[in-house]
Symmetry: C2
Subunit: 166 residues, 2 copies
């Protein structure tokens, strides 16, 4: 994954939080990973495909997820329920949607978001995919955005394995 | 999601397990869901996008994940490690890849798989997405395949929300 491809995702996260939640994000240090990321209490996952194939994970502290949902729904939230899950899925969708506009040459479209809950869940991209992760802090707590993107030519092995069975 | 769209995924799972793992699956009763599915010890998730937008979750008993990896790698596996995570990601990729060939009119392409581990993790599609889930049993234990697919016209609200911010 090209390092510069992370930038549209970082800008997208900052813009979505600022515009939709009136919450300013402070970014931390980029880390390169390819295995399990240290996830937080709730994570949104969304796939991207086109001239590159990827997945975006937005993992939030419980307090960030609850506060974000409160603002989106204008109602108090105290537990991770269906509303919080919907809100985290929608935030993940918005971050990925905005980021793909900044990577127009990859002509990617979004899959459906899913949301993972459960203490100590771990999300792995598999050993073959290099990912870039950016931690952020905000007034409510921490969040991490992790992105794995593989450009078309690099996709060959998995696609070939699937195709060879068809 | 049209009920008949689940069939290519069911056939794909049976074929992948039979061809790659020499393991015959017995299917259980289809359930309709739109919330959290009862997940097992390890789950592969992969996004699909094209004329429909979707996500596929393949959730496996620990014993099924370990036995499948043993066959794929021809080596004994006793814990859920990086090899097992890679194997579950690859199985999820193969099932989705084969299924999309049976849904050619939807012109979908695959995103990158991710794999979720952690006792009691829950994977939710959000309240707006109806999903279909099929449980299977095999000689090693149980697995569940859950699919959510939204056809193009239905995607409008989320895409519009993302687009209106760009």
């Amino acid at each position: 994954m090209k390092a510069e491809y992370i930038n549209p995702f970082v800008s997208a996260a900052a813009e979505v939080f600022s515009t939709m939640l009136q919450c300013e994000l402070t970014r931390g240090k980029l880390t390169i990973g390819n295995g399990a990321q240290p996830t937080m209490d709730i994570s949104g996952i969304i796939g991207l495909s086109g001239r590159a194939t990827g997945t975006v994970v937005l993992s939030l502290d419980r307090a960030v997820a609850l506060s974000a949902t409160e603002i989106l729904l204008s109602q108090k939230c105290t537990t991770i329920d269906g509303d919080v899950i919907d809100a985290v899925g929608e935030l993940t969708n918005m971050v990925a949607g905005r980021a793909k506009a900044g990577l127009e040459h990859l002509a990617m479209s979004l899959a459906l978001p899913t949301v993972i809950t459960g203490k100590n869940h771990v999300i792995s991209f598999g050993s073959a995919t290099q990912t870039l992760a950016i931690p952020f802090t905000c007034e409510w707590g921490g969040l991490v955005l992790e992105v794995g993107l593989v450009e078309e030519a690099e996709v060959a092995p998995a696609e070939l394995a699937a195709a060879s069975m068809a």
